[in-house]
């Protein structure tokens, strides 16, 4: 009995270790805590267009009554954004999706050059120079992509780039959102 008691710390540590091992394996992403915005109306915001880019700015009203919309948070300084950009462009063309951009903490020149180089699939782009709108949206890193319903409800938040396995998971969420519409 006494021996068992002395072994208890070992057993407890073993259990915690087991959970940790599980936590480290298998593509689990601890940062993908569900956004508090899910099933909530999108936050109130209004952003000017990027200076020198023809695409109009983005505000709360632009996300209502226009069908399913993807809001892609991107920046020219973000490497993964570059990787997901062609995939998102192709997805929006092939599936006839409306996609808008939130240019996060970027300079107008860099953002314009970036769009020039990689193409501009966005119907509207809000320039969030200060990162203020990003806070309202609960953005934790760039890129992030939100799926917004026709009536302006956040259906899904996808942190990280939509590439590889991420593309598959994003497509699943997108299909679910389409089915729900």
């Amino acid at each position: 009995m006494k021996r068992l008691l002395f072994a208890a710390p070992f057993v407890l540590a073993l259990i915690i270790g087991g959970f940790s091992l599980w936590g480290l394996s298998g593509g689990r992403d601890p940062s993908s805590i569900p956004s508090a915005l899910i099933s909530q109306p999108i936050p109130d915001f209004a952003l000017d267009p990027i200076e020198g880019v023809d695409t109009p700015g983005l505000s709360t009203e632009d996300l209502k009554g226009q069908g399913l919309t993807l809001v892609n948070v991107f920046a020219s300084w973000c490497g993964p954004c570059r990787a997901e950009h062609p995939i998102l462009t192709r997805m929006s063309e092939q599936q006839n999706l409306r996609i808008v951009g939130l240019n996060y903490k970027d300079t107008p020149e860099n953002a314009a050059a970036w769009l020039e180089e990689l193409g501009n699939p966005y119907e509207r782009i809000g320039a969030d120079v200060t990162g203020r709108a990003g806070i309202d949206w609960g953005v934790t890193g760039v890129p992030e992509t939100f799926i917004i319903s026709n009536d302006g409800i956040v259906l899904h938040r996808f942190p990280g780039p939509v590439v590889g396995d991420g593309q598959r998971r994003f497509q699943e969420a997108l299909d679910a959102a389409k089915a729900a519409q």
Binding site: G23, I33, A46
Partner: protein
């Protein structure tokens, strides 16, 4: 050239650690004095080599050597010198190097300073310390080399995260690390004692100064981190129960329990297995503290770049050290017989309750921190556990703890006279009761729990002062001489207990009676808060060394009389592409008036600024209390008895010469 030398020194340090991990402990088993004594040399050599390696990395940061990847990623040529230096430990690799450096320094300190410890115990302790060194040095060399070169070198660096460019934060990680890593030596002592199969009062006394030193550093480190969150982050709070805060708090709790249980082992030759277990757990929790965030196991605002490869290696290291030591404990500890018996009302019993409550508090924090992981593993649901859980579970445990804390020092060893003690404390009780009524009257409403907690804090203050005054017979002639004659550790205890009470006053005040407002302001807007009136005068642009700031001017008045002017800032760091909030604070002991500004995003509020005002009553008692805790530890550490009159194994308990 210098970075290569640094890397070479790191490799040599690993070799020294390898020798130290085998030779001394083998010597202890075979009674080979020469082998045992080799630990002395290897420990010093290892530390010297790592000092060199760390110096080499720091040099690369100071001269902005952009051929080193780590410097590129964490520095910039325009950064102020202090933060270039601090950049050395601002990254994953650099902080790891600091970690092993401190580990080696503690080993060397034991090798050089602890000359009253038997050679065999010392040899085993240093070998165990070297095992930890080998684990982490190999981890660095294999996966996280801070001296990696980059080719072609970029023109300039990517800058350190501007949030981290703060004086408090520049010294917060080293202090925290001294605390974390300091417990490694206590851990090594414990494992060595388990291998030796012997724990006695002398052992507890040898370990005590190291525990105290680590505990002080950790206390200071945590307080600084909290201070930084409060002043720099502009979140208007000082503790958020964030996983990273929790993992630094857990070793603090375990270390505090260890400090107290080691006293019982030292004075009464009992609680042995428990003390050993606490020593192991404290360091295990420190390891968890350093690495849980890096492994990517939990999410936090503090997260470093996550790399699953590293995570698995770290988990392996943790598993070997924690499970290995706990297995050793399960095997060897049952043989350790308890010593002196004690009555249900006694100093021992008081310390037992203290330990049980602290351990429960620590387990609560551990559970709350890991619960999201458990839940996700079992049900797949993802959640984050926030302050409500911790407040609801932690406070009910700590309040009784503080009540016992006031009583404990009044109890005598073996058997205490409770009615006598209570009679002695009846005036303290009356004063506390009156004080609580005064608090309730001032607070005028607000949560009842806050008033009760304040009463309990007052009780701890009263009981601690009464105990101290009684011991030195303050009101009789010759009190000063008696104060000097008392062992410093006794003064240290009173100081630390008082510090905790003061800290509690701050914590209660700043959480229960805080007021805040958020409003849109244009020049001329006046906002009332906590009896003050704050008027927004305007904003102007100012150029800083590596940032551009917009500085607002605010006039503060009370009852129409001018009090002060405050200048909160919004800083934009162009290189790191980040903005930070620099709040401004009017600090008084009664409370802080805390102001910060932000630009509103919406178009229809053009020209308006978001003005955030917070009044945090009594918050400065938090830092004052933390300082007193550290000071109490320092007083105790400076006790002559810990250094002279070397305790001898054969001597009976309490036979050390009195001064």
């Amino acid at each position: 050239m210098i970075p290569e030398l640094g890397q070479f020194a790191m490799a040599l340090a690993l070799i020294a650690a390898l020798v130290q991990s085998v030779l001394p402990i083998a010597g202890a088993a075979r009674r080979n004095t020469l082998w045992m004594a080799s630990a002395q040399a290897t420990a010093v050599i290892q530390a010297a080599l790592l000092v060199f390696a760390f110096g080499a990395l720091m040099h690369a940061f100071i001269v902005s050597d952009f051929t080193v990847r780590n410097v590129v990623e964490n520095s910039h040529s325009l950064k102020p010198m202090l933060y270039k230096v601090a950049g050395t430990w601002g990254s994953h690799e650099g902080s790891l190097l600091l970690w092993v450096l401190i580990l080696a320094l503690f080993g060397a300190a034991v090798a050089v300073m602890a000359d009253n410890i038997p050679l065999a115990l010392k040899a085993r302790t240093l070998s165990v310390q070297a095992w930890i060194s080998v684990g982490f040095l190999s981890f660095m060399i294999l996966t996280s080399n801070p001296f990696d070169r980059v080719f072609p070198p970029p023109l300039d660096g990517q800058d350190l995260n501007p949030l981290l460019q703060d004086f408090g934060l520049a010294i917060h990680p080293p202090l925290l690390y001294i605390g974390y890593v300091g417990f490694s030596i206590v851990f090594s002592f414990a494992v060595a004692a388990l291998i030796e199969g012997r724990v006695d009062p002398a052992w507890a006394r040898w370990v005590r100064p190291w525990t105290l030193a680590a505990w002080m550093a950790l206390t200071g480190g945590i307080a600084l981190g909290s201070w930084w969150a409060y002043y720099e982050l502009g979140w208007g709070g000082w503790w958020f129960w964030d996983p990273v805060e929790n993992v630094s708090f857990m070793p603090w709790l375990a270390g505090t329990a260890l400090l107290h249980s080691a006293i019982v082992t030292e004075k009464r030759d009992t609680f042995k297995a428990w003390t050993i277990l606490l020593a192991i757990l404290t360091f295990s929790l420190s390891l968890l503290g350093t690495f849980i965030v890096r492994s990517g196991l939990l999410t936090s605002v503090h997260a470093f770049a996550v790399d699953p490869e590293r995570g698995v290696y770290i988990l392996g290291l943790l598993a070997v050290s924690i499970l290995g030591s706990l297995a050793l404990f399960a095997w060897r500890a049952p043989a350790m017989e308890g010593g002196g018996l004690f009555a249900p009302i006694s100093r021992e019993a008081g310390l037992l309750i203290n330990n049980l409550l602290i351990a429960t508090a620590c387990a609560t924090v551990l559970f709350g921190t890991l619960y999201p992981l458990f839940l996700e593993a079992v049900t797949g649901e993802k959640i984050s556990v926030g302050p409500p859980f911790f407040n609801a579970s932690f406070i009910p445990i700590t309040l009784p703890l503080v009540i016992v804390m006031g009583l404990g020092p009044h109890l005598s060893w073996k058997r205490a006279d409770l009615p006598g003690v209570l009679a002695r404390l009846k005036w303290v009780g009356v004063v506390v009761l009156l004080g609580t009524l005064v608090v309730a009257w001032i607070a005028d409403g607000g949560p009842l729990l806050a008033v009760i907690s304040m009463g309990i804090a007052l009780w701890l203050i009263g009981a601690t002062i009464q105990d101290w005054a009684r011991r030195v017979k303050l009101l009789q002639k010759g009190a000063w001489a008696r104060i000097n004659r008392q062992p410093r550790s006794a003064h240290g205890m009173s100081m630390a207990h008082l510090g905790l009470a003061v800290l509690m006053v701050g914590a209660i005040g700043a959480s229960a009676w805080k007021t805040d407002t958020v409003s849109f302001a244009e020049p001329g807007t006046a906002v009332p808060i906590a009896g003050f009136e704050v008027t927004f005068v305007g904003v102007e642009q100012v150029q800083g060394p590596n940032y551009v700031a917009q500085v607002a001017t605010l006039d503060v008045t009370r009852d129409g009389e001018f009090v002060t002017q405050l200048f909160p800032e919004r800083r934009v760091y162009p290189v790191a592409q980040a903005t930070t909030t620099e709040s401004d604070i009017r600090q008084t002991l009664a409370g802080d008036l805390y102001v910060s500004i932000a630009e509103p995003a919406a178009e229809n509020t053009e020209g308006l600024w978001t003005l955030r005002l917070i009044y945090e009553p009594l918050v400065n008692f938090l830092w004052l209390g933390s300082l007193m805790l550290v000071l109490g530890g320092a007083l105790s550490l400076s006790d002559r008895r810990l250094r002279v009159g070397a305790p001898r194994r054969a001597a009976p308990v309490n036979a050390t010469p009195a001064e």
